[in-house]
Symmetry: C2
Subunit: 258 residues, 2 copies
């Protein structure tokens, strides 16, 4: 199948790209949204190029929307990757992906596209946190799969995409200690145990139950509701939701532990 790459050649900035590390939480595990290229079957982060008339955050939001159908999610710049190794001729995996892409080139654009794709791409990695249940992952013309993959079962990835995930995860572990960023990963009502499981999945460590509960309550961003009615009444856990106003304040100023 051939595509017209006129828009790319005329209107996108050569040598620049973005990649999105989209974290979702399900089955008590942190997952990452990955796409699989047709033919080559190489897995990669969803990404895109930068039109000359758009800023990067807008592009990242679009990529996220295309892949997940979600808008207004927690999306932040994570890190810029500019290693001189960031080009498609660096290893077998990236050459396989390039071969796949080349099959879609039309004869009269071949030369320009060859030049376009031969550069080092400086890529800005974004990190997004979404409610995995709300997402219907979308493939596109170059991918035959778009799936949630658990963080502990990642396949080999294109270029330095594994490093991008590791860096985003490191930042997420840091941020969750400072900011109440669990909101977009959780359903509207949840138990304290759900919240603790999420923190444990992100931090990749077990936390003390009493200690965790005390700290979360003290932060003051939780509304307590009725008990979750399953099993014995006296053991039923309370349901919580997030107090948006307090949450936004915390998100703005951070948890002040000094």
């Amino acid at each position: 199948m051939k595509f017209d790459y006129k828009e790319l050649l005329d209107n996108c900035i050569p040598g620049l790209s973005i990649d999105c590390v989209v974290f979702g939480y399900k089955d008590k595990k942190l997952h990452v949204l990955l796409v699989r290229f047709i033919d080559s079957h190489v897995w990669a982060l969803p990404g895109g190029f930068i039109p000359k008339d758009q800023d990067m955050d807008a592009v990242a939001n679009q990529v996220l929307f295309q892949r997940t159908g979600l808008q207004e999610v927690f999306l932040q710049q994570s890190h810029i990757f500019s290693s001189l190794n960031r080009h498609f001729d660096i290893n077998t995996r990236s050459r396989l992906v390039m071969d796949t892409i080349k099959k879609t080139w039309m004869e009269d654009q071949k030369e320009a596209l060859e030049a376009w794709f031969s550069e080092r791409f400086i890529s800005t990695a974004y990190m997004a946190l979404v409610d995995a249940e709300k997402v219907h992952p979308q493939t596109d013309v170059l991918s035959d799969a778009c799936d949630w993959i658990p963080l502990d079962e990642l396949p080999d990835l294109l270029l330095d995409h594994r490093e991008m995930i590791d860096e985003a995860h490191r930042q997420l572990r840091m941020k969750i200690r400072l900011l109440p960023i669990g909101k977009s990963l959780l359903p509207e009502r949840f138990t304290m145990s759900d919240l603790q499981s999420l923190y444990e999945a992100i931090l990749d460590q077990k936390l003390d139950r009493g200690n965790f509960q005390r700290k979360m309550i003290r932060l003051g961003f939780l509304n307590r509701h009725e008990k979750l009615m399953t099993g014995a009444q006296n053991k039923a856990p309370y349901l919580y939701s997030i107090n948006d106003e307090a949450y936004d304040q915390l998100l703005k100023h951070g948890i002040n532990f000094i």
Copy 2:
């Protein structure tokens, strides 16, 4: 005065730049290193362009070295600024700076340079923390001043450089709650009061003395030395230095307050 811009035109990536927000601490205030363009007298962050054969962190390190003479300082990516307004024709200040730069162009490079500088520049802001006492700020051919300016006395700046400083300061306020990043801002030996003053300058708020001291000691990254011998012996404060090993561990894993 005319310069040869061959290196820029042949070897740098058009439309990409870096800017460095260099924080230094002196007179109990947080300062930023700024440069002033000749003729126009517009103040700006020190910055540079990206050679095709270098990664961005290396470029940022070079800019920092040129301006401060320092190597191996705390330097991290802060944020990418890609607004469509990031071009030299956006306001009077930026046009003045452009006029200054144009005066240095040679006739036969004018056309190419005109094209080069007419683009939107997507700029990566870096944040550095340095010991202000160790720095001898350096001007270059396009600047007649390079100085430490207190954060609360910033002049009007080129383009969105003020936003870059505000964002870096916001991140610094967040990070100092998670990471012991004061090291590069402090002399080798300091009192607890010095450390508290630094935190207060960064956070822009007064902290409780007893509480601060308890928390810092508990973090375990301070070595306690002899007392600072000034005034009455019984009131003399202890001197502290940073335990590099414990500091590096904290820097790697963050302060675990959950």
